[in-house]
Amino acid sequence: MFDLALKIALLGASLSMVGFLYRLIKGPSVPDRVVALDAIGINLIAFVALASIVMDTGAYLEAILLLGILSFIGTVAFAKFLEKGEIIEDDRNR
């Protein structure tokens, strides 16, 4: 029963990733794509977590944490790039 639940959850995660991928490719504007990428990152967290349950291992927990951080940083960087045109400002005398 638990096994079946896991499989259904993984299938759901995969399908949602396909959906986000569609948005990533199609997405009319760049922010659409960035949000899709961010969501793919979150989706990956779920996917990795489910996969590690399936594989019965704790080896991927770091990957989950890292994905959380990275997708946050990545999205912030994209957002800043889209807003200001650069990511790290070197002009200190504002």
Partner: protein
């Protein structure tokens, strides 16, 4: 090191100290110091005559590279001695002549004598070496020093052209000679000429025999200016006249003759050798004597005459090879051809040397060598005229000079061809005496031109740059000695026959030496066909010479079109042009083209190998079952990768590339590689941000439009091809696993040996830590490089910002 070695090396050693002598003793002409050496060497070589006369051979060995069988073996037999005497004897005379010819004040004498001595030593080395590799080394040394001597007046364009031309042609021959030598050494398993001669019977049947023969002959023909490689010799006349007299009449151009004579015992059994040598010689003889008539420059006439006389000697050597096809020496007519060749070789060196010196004297005293401007010098320069008469009459083959004798012997050998009943000679052989006779008529005509045009007729002082007068006595000594030799050898030819010619002929045809043979050169040998031929030559030649103005004009227009120089010049230019255009077409400077060819090569070579070796195999035995999730992730990666190709904006491509990277990290998760997944995630994030950085800094040009990548069919084909090939190879490689992997060792020993539970990390820092160290190095270099590229702005001028 023996005395013989010292004798060959002495010119090189003297060449080392010539510049010092030149600097220290500026008031004495450097040539006087140089003169001592060839005279010493000449007397040294004279001492060998009694030995070689008895058929003895002197050999001396010094090791050079013994492990490769390369020894500096020098040996003196009749043939080598003949050449050594020519080189040192005429060398002495030429040095003496050059002392008076070259001005102490105006010329760079140190260079001249260094080059000349290098040449002399190299030439001695060529004729005395027994080891073929040593012979080849000296051979190239003669090419090089001849190049330097022809280009002696290197500020003249024609000199540089002549030097380059002669170097290209003689080195072409030299390299093919090297090929022939290597083939010979493969066949005979030795570099020694004598050992090769000893096993010449077996060599005939070897498959490499014909290629070796052709390569060696190519080397000999280019050096000896045989048709069609004769074109460098007339252009080499830009050299100072002593050089022309020495190199381009008496010595270097006879190196090819020497080679043919020396290797005759190895090759002469073959009919190909006989035909090639004799027919090339005859063509050269005819063409050279024909071309000589239309020249107006004295040295050019002499150059073409040298070509034709070399052809004569070569054809005689070719016919001499026929002697090997007859058993007994008694009725063997063809030994006479070899005798004639050797005799004419000596005669040619004497009269041509003196004629060149005469041409040099005329040039020196009048300022021109053009026979149209010269005339009536007989009264002004009586001694020079006498020498010229002797030399030219000998060249034409008139009695009582030595040229008459060798010309008679030449004609006799050519007539004897008719009696040759091998190689179908009875049908085509009739051409031999005909060609020889016609060429002799031409020879008579240009000999008369050489002697009569400058010295007889009207004296036109206004055409000349200087007021002509008789040459200084020092300049006349050498040609006088040579002219005296012409007469002495003409009247007493048997001075030479036992001492020099017999041992030399034995050297050329050692298999015949077993029989006793003696040569007797008789002045009057009865009413033979060749005597009538000579009378015919003189009669026809005289008539033609008298009517020369009538037909010379038509001659002038004819050979210009047939000139091989046009072929050479156009060939050289065409070679340069075609290689330039090839480079222009291949090296476009566009990276796209280079990548296309790299990938094409990749596809073709690997694809051909797979097809040729029938290497593609598909074995599904080792395949793991494909899971559902892997399929989905793979589908995501494929979809994203294809989407990159069709992305409209670059930003979209970067984002989709990031998605591919993340999906790959998901693969690592699915395939149980947590460390890889971690690293892949981080690296992907960083590289995507770097891409964004690059994207941001792209210049905002009007021409750069955000649009989809344009489609090119060949790019698509090549990329699909690369993908297919890599896939095929990966599948085949996976299907052909020959042995199990070593990973079980790591799994068992990671904790036991290294004390770590993370096998990947243990491998990275413990089992195979060295790789990691250098990857750290790579990263540091990359970081430093980026820092340097950003900070260092070495562009000239201002800050590019």
């Amino acid at each position: 090191m023996s005395l013989l070695h010292m004798a060959v090396l002495a010119p090189f050693l003297l060449a080392l100290i010539v510049p010092t002598l030149y600097k220290q003793f500026r008031q004495i002409h450097t040539g006087w110091f140089v003169l001592i050496l060839p005279i010493l060497l000449f007397t040294y070589f004279l001492r060998f005559i009694p030995l070689t006369k008895q058929g003895d051979v002197i050999t001396e060995r010094a090791d050079w590279i013994p492990s490769l069988g390369i020894h500096v073996d020098f040996y003196v037999d009749g043939l080598g001695l003949l050449f050594a005497l020519l080189i040192t004897g005429i060398g002495s005379l030429v040095v003496l002549y050059s002392v008076f010819y070259l001005s102490k004040e105006k010329e760079r004498l140190n260079q001249f004598y260094v080059f000349l001595l290098l040449f002399m030593g190299a030439m001695l080395g060529v004729v005395l070496s027994d080891n073929l590799i040593v012979l080849y080394s000296f051979w190239e040394f003669t090419s090089l020093s001849s190049f330097l001597l022809i280009g002696y007046w290197n500020e003249r364009e024609r000199s540089r052209y002549g030097a380059q031309k002669s170097l290209l042609i003689t080195v072409l021959g030299g390299l093919s000679l090297l090929g022939g030598i290597i083939l010979l050494s493969i066949m005979g398993n030795t570099f020694s000429i004598r050992e090769l001669i000893a096993q010449s019977g077996q060599l005939m049947d070897h498959t490499l025999f014909t290629p070796a023969l052709l390569l060696v002959l190519l080397g000999a023909f280019t050096k000896s200016a045989q048709f069609p490689f004769h074109i460098w010799l007339p252009d080499a006349m830009e050299a100072p006249t002593p050089v022309s007299a020495y190199l381009h009449s008496a010595t270097m151009v006879k190196a090819g003759i020497y080679l043919v004579a020396r290797l005759s015992p190895v090759f002469a059994e073959s009919g190909l050798w006989l035909w090639l040598v004799s027919i090339t010689g005859l063509i050269t003889l005819l063409w050279g004597s024909f071309s000589a008539i239309k020249q107006t420059d004295l040295k050019a006439i002499l150059a073409f005459s040298t070509i034709s006389q070399l052809g004569l000697i070569m054809s005689l050597l070719g016919l001499g090879a026929a002697a090997l096809h007859y058993d007994s020496i008694g009725e063997n007519l063809y030994v006479a051809a070899t005798v004639a060749a050797v005799f004419h070789l000596i005669n040619h060196a004497t009269f041509k040397g003196s004629l060149f010196m005469v041409a040099g004297i005329i040039d020196h005293e009048t300022g021109t060598r053009d026979i149209k401007k010269l005339g009536g010098l007989m009264q002004v320069m009586p001694i020079t005229f006498t020498i010229a008469v002797i030399g030219a009459f000998s060249m034409a083959g008139l009695p009582p000079f030595n040229g008459f004798l060798s010309k008679e012997m030449f004609l006799a050998s050519m007539v004897n061809v008719l009696e040759l009943n091998i190689f179908n000679m009875d049908t085509w052989g009739v051409l031999f005496p005909v060609i020889a006779w016609v060429a002799s008529v031409f020879t008579f005509i240009y000999s008369m031109i050489v002697v009569l045009k400058p010295f007889t007729g009207k004296f036109q002082a206004n055409l000349l740059d200087r007021k002509p007068h008789e040459a200084p006595i020092g300049m006349l000594v050498s040609p006088i000695i040579l002219a005296l030799l012409v007469i002495v050898f003409g009247i007493f030819p048997n001075l030479l026959s036992a001492t020099i010619i017999e041992p030399a002929v034995t050297g050329i045809q050692p298999s015949l030496a077993a029989d006793d043979f003696h040569i007797h050169i008789a002045f009057w040998h009865g009413l033979t066909p060749e005597l009538f031929m000579t009378i015919g030559i003189i009669a026809v030649g005289f008539v033609l010479y008298l009517s020369l103005p009538k037909w010379q004009k038509s001659l002038q227009s004819l050979p210009e079109r047939l000139s091989l120089n046009v072929l050479y010049d156009n060939g050289l230019r065409g070679l340069e042009r075609s290689s330039a255009s090839l480079m222009k077409r291949l090296m476009t400077g566009s990276l796209r083209t280079y990548l296309l060819s790299i990938f094409l090569f990749f596809i073709l070579s690997l694809g051909f190998t797979i097809y040729w070796k029938d290497a593609f195999t598909l074995d599904t035995k080792h395949f793991a079952p494909i899971g559902f999730y892997e399929l989905i992730v793979a589908g995501i990666i494929v979809a994203a990768a294809i989407a990159i190709l069709f992305a409209k904006s670059r930003l979209t491509s970067i984002i989709i590339l990031g998605a591919v990277g993340y999906a790959i990290s998901l693969f690592f998760v699915l395939l149980r590689a947590p460390d890889l997944a971690l690293t892949q995630l981080v690296i992907e994030t960083i590289s995507v941000s770097l891409f964004l950085l690059c994207f941001f800094h792209l210049p905002l040009l009007a021409s750069r439009k955000e649009e989809r990548m344009s489609f090119r069919l060949n790019n698509a084909l090549v990329s699909i091809g690369v993908g297919v090939i890599v896939t095929l190879i990966a599948l085949s490689a996976h299907s052909n696993k020959l042995f199990d992997s070593i990973s079980s060792y790591y799994l068992e020993n990671a904790y036991k040996e290294a004390g770590g539970k993370n096998v990947v990390n243990v491998i990275l820092v413990d089992f195979r830590g060295l790789d990691t160290m250098f990857e750290i190095t790579v990263l540091s270099i990359a970081a430093l490089g980026i820092f340097a590229m950003i900070k260092l702005r070495l562009t000239r001028g201002k800050d590019p910002s």
